[in-house]
């Protein structure tokens, strides 16, 4: 059964396209954090500014070593906080530099006002987010609360399942962000510890291939003393709204650009990306939806369930913003039941953010599709294939009994 939109085609082994493009890449084993640093080095960024926070720290450590060892000709700006890190890359990006920063959890929260400045100024900044739970209580492990927290900040948002996707997305992020039709910042998120600290094998493109793919940054705002312009101006009742409308339009246009970049990247790497990753969905009646490393674990659960004759598939959300409306409608409208698994909790809401996105995409045209929302894995609570099998069984039963009107919690003591 084909697995569309995924790195190895069927995930059953290295596909044909990989073999064809093997001369352009090399096999490598790194942690998720080091995979990001490796991609950033190959992207030949000009300026890096970041503040260390678990579990992102190694991205910054590795990059500072690349700069110190002369492997990367970039300016590394050490700062005292994430607010300053984002501010520094905003300044550098305005000056025309290709920039990078990385953070997690509280660090992202501390960046908050600058996140909106980066997108409002239309800066092609790329940020890595090793996703981690938010305090209090203090926790260093993975969930997606920080990621969903920046949902409306105007950033293009991707979520990598493991090192391969995170590496590929980091490279593609620059191509997308710097496209003159887009000029928006991009965040590439990957699960803290589960991906950030796990060494796994993947294919990295050769340096010259990445250099040719990305070229130099030539677009976007550029402070130029010979051609003075104003940036970040005061825009009151008479013009602020127009800026925001243009920004909205840029996000809409990014859909097409992302599609083009995915296609170009597939040509050089053999890895074909799509906003949604489908697995065994063709004849599925029930679909599990997840994000991040859980998508892989869910594929294993689906294989077990399929052996038991269950008609179930999984869809992984790779591209979260812009929300792939068309693809979601096309794929999800054919299921009878949808079980959404979210590693975040939206206090006081009807459901978590992914559930609401899917529901609002399907309604009212496909209101016959039944849905249920599960919160799981907060603060790094492990999810195993068996856990996903449980969620499938309970979720399906609750839908059948019409008891799907509120958020369910899986794997919590209560």
């Amino acid at each position: 059964m084909p697995c569309k939109g995924n790195k190895y085609g069927s995930r059953g082994g290295v596909g044909k396209m990989i073999t064809k493009s093997l001369s352009r890449q090399h096999r490598i084993a790194l942690t998720g954090n080091d995979a990001v640093a490796y991609a950033v080095k190959q992207a030949k960024v000009d300026v890096i500014s970041a503040y260390p926070i678990t579990p992102q720290t190694f991205v910054v450590e590795t990059l500072s070593r690349y700069v110190y060892d002369g492997e990367l000709d970039a300016k590394f700006i050490a700062v005292e906080s994430e607010h300053s890190a984002m501010s520094a890359v905003i300044g550098a990006s305005l000056a025309g530099a290709r920039t990078f920063t990385a953070t997690s959890s509280q660090g992202l929260a501390y960046m908050w006002e600058a996140l909106y400045a980066a997108s409002g100024l239309r800066l092609p900044i790329v940020m890595a987010l090793a996703a981690r739970a938010l305090s209090a209580p203090l926790n260093i492990h993975n969930d997606h609360s920080d990621f969903f927290g920046m949902r409306d900040a105007g950033w293009i948002m991707f979520n990598g399942e493991e090192a391969q996707e995170t590496y590929d997305l980091t490279i593609m992020a620059y191509k997308i962000a710097e496209d003159p039709r887009v000029l928006l910042p991009v965040v590439v998120s990957y699960d803290g510890f589960i991906v950030s600290h796990a060494i796994s094998d993947f294919y990295a493109l050769n340096d010259d291939v990445v250099a040719e793919f990305l070229g130099k940054r030539t677009t976007g705002p550029k402070i130029d003393p010979d051609n003075p312009r104003s940036f970040g101006v005061l825009a009151l009742q008479d013009s602020y709204f127009e800026f925001k409308r243009q920004q909205y339009e840029a996000m809409e246009k990014s859909r097409q650009v992302i599609q083009e970049v995915f296609k170009k990247y597939a040509e050089i790497s053999g890895r074909e990306y799509r906003p949604l990753k489908e697995y065994m969905t063709e004849d599925a009646e029930t679909c599990i939806v997840a994000m991040g490393s859980t998508v892989g674990t869910a594929r294993q659960a689906i294989r077990i369930l399929r052996e038991r004759g269950e008609k179930v598939g999984v869809v992984g959300i790779l591209q979260y913003r812009p929300w792939p409306t068309k693809e979601v409608e096309q794929i999800f409208s054919k299921f009878k039941k949808i079980i959404v698994m979210e590693k975040t909790v939206s206090h006081g809401a009807r459901a978590g953010p992914m559930y609401e996105d899917i529901a609002s995409t399907l309604y009212p045209k496909y209101s016959n599709v039944k849905m249920i929302d599960y919160t799981y894995g907060l603060g790094g609570r492990d999810i195993s294939p068996q856990g996903i099998i449980d969620i499938y069984r309970f979720g399906k039963e609750l839908i059948e009994k019409d008891r799907n009107d509120k958020v369910q919690f899986y794997g919590v003591r209560e």
Binding site: G13, I140, V195, S200, T294, I383, P385
Partner: protein, 188 residues
């Protein structure tokens, strides 16, 4: 249809400071060098010396997409001699699992005490080996040697090359000595 893929799962158990993370990485990287798909990761809270630390490695001929902890290890390595006698460390083992522990006791004594049934149960006296080789406590490489002997999952030379590239000079040489002694002296 795609079958449930055959993945071998390894679990390491020890304490912070005993080299669980490093031994786990070494075996993962050795498997990678020998062409396997790998996934190797630690399970720790805030790192602290003496606290329990687990490490997990999966390997397979096919890409690995499971990302959970390892609950039913095919291979278990226990670096800490106190944990070697703690029944809770041995949960989830299968009748085919291979176990190597750091202990001065005989395998049958431990098997009887723990009341477990596994494929192979090996004991490495890492305390004695490490005292003789390093003059101090280095438990991870002797246990790793014993594990390689019983599982035959990688060649010793692959590990030795990795150790030397990571710890050039005297430290690497001593670790290789400890690795070889664990390999030769494991009692199963």
């Amino acid at each position: 249809m795609k079958k449930v893929s055959k993945i071998i799962e390894i679990k390491w158990q020890g304490r912070g400071g005993q080299g669980v993370v490093l031994a786990n990485q070494l075996i993962g990287m050795a498997l990678f060098e020998e062409g396997k798909h790998i996934q190797t990761f630690p399970d720790f809270g805030p790192e602290r010396t003496g606290g329990p630390v687990r490490g997990y490695t999966r390997f397979s001929e096919e890409p690995i997409d499971v990302h959970s902890f390892v609950y039913e290890p095919d291979i278990l390595a226990v670096i800490d001699p106190y944990f070697a006698e703690d029944p809770s460390v041995y949960t989830g083992l299968k009748p085919t699992s291979i176990v190597v522990v750091n202990s001065a006791k005989k395998p049958h004594e431990l098997i009887r005490k723990l009341d477990i049934k596994v494929g192979k149960f090996g004991v490495v006296d890492a305390l004695r080996i490490s005292k003789e080789v390093f003059g101090t406590y280095v438990f991870n490489t002797p246990v790793l040697g014993g594990l390689v002997k019983l599982t035959e999952m990688v060649r010793l030379e692959t590990l030795e090359k990795l150790i030397m590239s990571r710890f050039p000079g005297k430290l690497g040489e001593l670790n290789i000595q400890a690795l070889r002694r664990g390999f030769e002296e494991v009692v199963a």
